[in-house]
Amino acid sequence: MPSERLLDACATLRADPSLSFDYLRCLSVVDYEDRFQVVYHLWSREHRHKLVLKVDTTVESPSVPSVTGVWRGADWFEREGHDLFGVEFPGHPDPRVLILYEDFEGFPGRKSFPFHDYQEW
C-alpha cells in the first residue's frame, strides 16, 4: 500500500464497526535492501480477527507517516524503527532516541551496517 494513503486506511480500519481493529500488536521494519517495508500487525478485540498491513518506502529517504494518532501504542515501536533502521515517522509526538544512546552513528538494523568490522571499545 502506498504510504500516502496509510493514515486514511488506518483510521478506517480503526473506526469501521465491521473492522474495529483497536489493537496494534506489532510494528516492525524490514530491510529488503532495495526498499524498506513497515509491517503493521492489527488485532480486533471485538471480532477477534487480525490483519497485516505492509507499507513500502524508499531506501534513500525512508519515511512513513506516524500512526500514533490512531494507535497510541505505536509510539515506542516507531521510535525503535527510527533507531535501528532510520525510518522517519513524521507526526510522531516524541521522536527521541529509544534504544541506542545519543550521538550513535549509523543504523544497526540495516543490512548495510558494518557488523563484522565494527570495533569500538
Binding site: L100, Y101, G106, P108, F113, F115, H116, Y118, Q119, W121
Partner: protein, 235 residues
C-alpha cells in the same frame, strides 16, 4: 642462627605474591592464633611472660580482616548473571554466613558485582555508581560479558569488558557462572584484600584498567565541568 638472617618479622607470612599472580587459597593467610607460619619465628617479646595469650597483629591486618568479612555488594544486576547472583544470595548458597549482605545504595557499599552485559548506554551510570562508592572499594566482573564482552564481542552496543570503565579486582568466568563460581570469586576477593593489606599497607591499590571508554575521566567531575561551562556561557 637462621632466624637472625631473616627480615624483621612484621608479617605473618613472609612470601606474599602480587595480586596479579595466581594463587591458591591459603589457610595461613587467616590470622593464626600465634604466628606459627613457616619461616616466621617471632622473637620472644617481654609481654609474653607478662600477659600470656595476648596476640599482636598489624593494624592493617586487623582492618583487612574486618573489611573482608563484611563485604557489602551493591545490589544491581544487568542480565542473566544477576539471576545466578540472586540465587547465590538465597538460602541454598547462603552468602550471609560470609558477612556478605546486599545493600541497595552505593554510599555504604564495599564491592560492586557487575553481573551481566554492560551496554554502552549503561556505561555512564555504572561509572557513576562506582564513583559514589566510598573507599575502599572493589569490583568483581561476573561472567564473560562483563569480562571481555563475551558472546557480544565487537557488538555495536556492548562495552568490551567492564574494565574499560572501572578497575576490576576479580574476574569470574562462565556464561553465566554458577553460584559456586561467584562464591569462589568472593573468596578470592577476600584473599586479595588480605594480600593487599600485607603488601601495600593501609592503601587500597586499584588494579590498572583500560579507562578509555568514557572520555574525560570522572563522570562526577564532568557533570560539574558542564555546569561551569554553562555558567561561563551564561556570563
Amino acid at each position: 642462627m637462621a632466624v637472625e638472617k631473616e627480615k624483621p618479622s612484621w608479617g605473618i607470612s613472609p612470601v606474599v605474591p602480587g595480586w596479579y599472580q595466581a594463587w591458591e587459597r591459603d589457610s595461613t593467610l587467616d590470622l593464626p592464633p600465634g604466628s606459627t607460619a613457616e619461616g616466621n619465628v617471632a622473637p620472644p617479646a617481654p609481654y609474653r611472660s607478662a600477659a600470656p595469650g595476648v596476640i599482636t597483629a598489624r593494624m592493617e591486618d586487623l582492618l583487612a580482616l574486618a573489611r573482608k568479612n563484611s563485604l557489602w555488594p551493591l545490589t544491581f544486576g544487568l542480565a542473566c548473571c544477576a539471576i545466578e547472583m540472586m540465587s547465590t544470595y538465597m538460602a541454598n548458597h547462603d552468602l550471609d554466613r560470609m558477612g556478605i549482605v546486599t545493600w541497595p545504595s552505593p554510599r555504604q557499599s564495599d564491592v560492586m558485582i557487575v553481573a551481566g552485559t554492560v551496554v554502552k548506554k549503561m556505561a555512564e551510570p555504572i561509572r557513576l555508581l562506582y564513583e559514589q562508592m566510598p573507599e575502599p572499594k572493589w569490583v568483581i566482573a561476573m561472567g564473560s560479558c562483563a569480562t571481555n564482552g563475551g558472546p557480544y564481542y565487537r557488538s555495536y552496543s556492548v562495552v568490551m569488558g567492564v574494565d574499560h570503565i572501572v578497575p576490576v579486582d576479580v574476574y569470574i568466568p562462565g556464561c553465566p557462572p554458577r553460584p559456586e563460581a561467584l562464591m569462589d570469586g568472593l573468596l578470592r576477593l577476600q584473599d586479595k584484600i588480605q594480600h593487599d593489606a600485607r603488601q601495600y599497607g593501609g592503601n587500597n591499590p586499584h588494579p590498572p584498567f583500560r579507562g578509555d571508554a568514557l572520555p574525560g575521566g570522572s563522570v562526577l567531575e564532568r557533570g560539574s565541568g558542564a555546569s561551569e561551562t554553562g555558567e561561563a556561557a551564561g556570563a
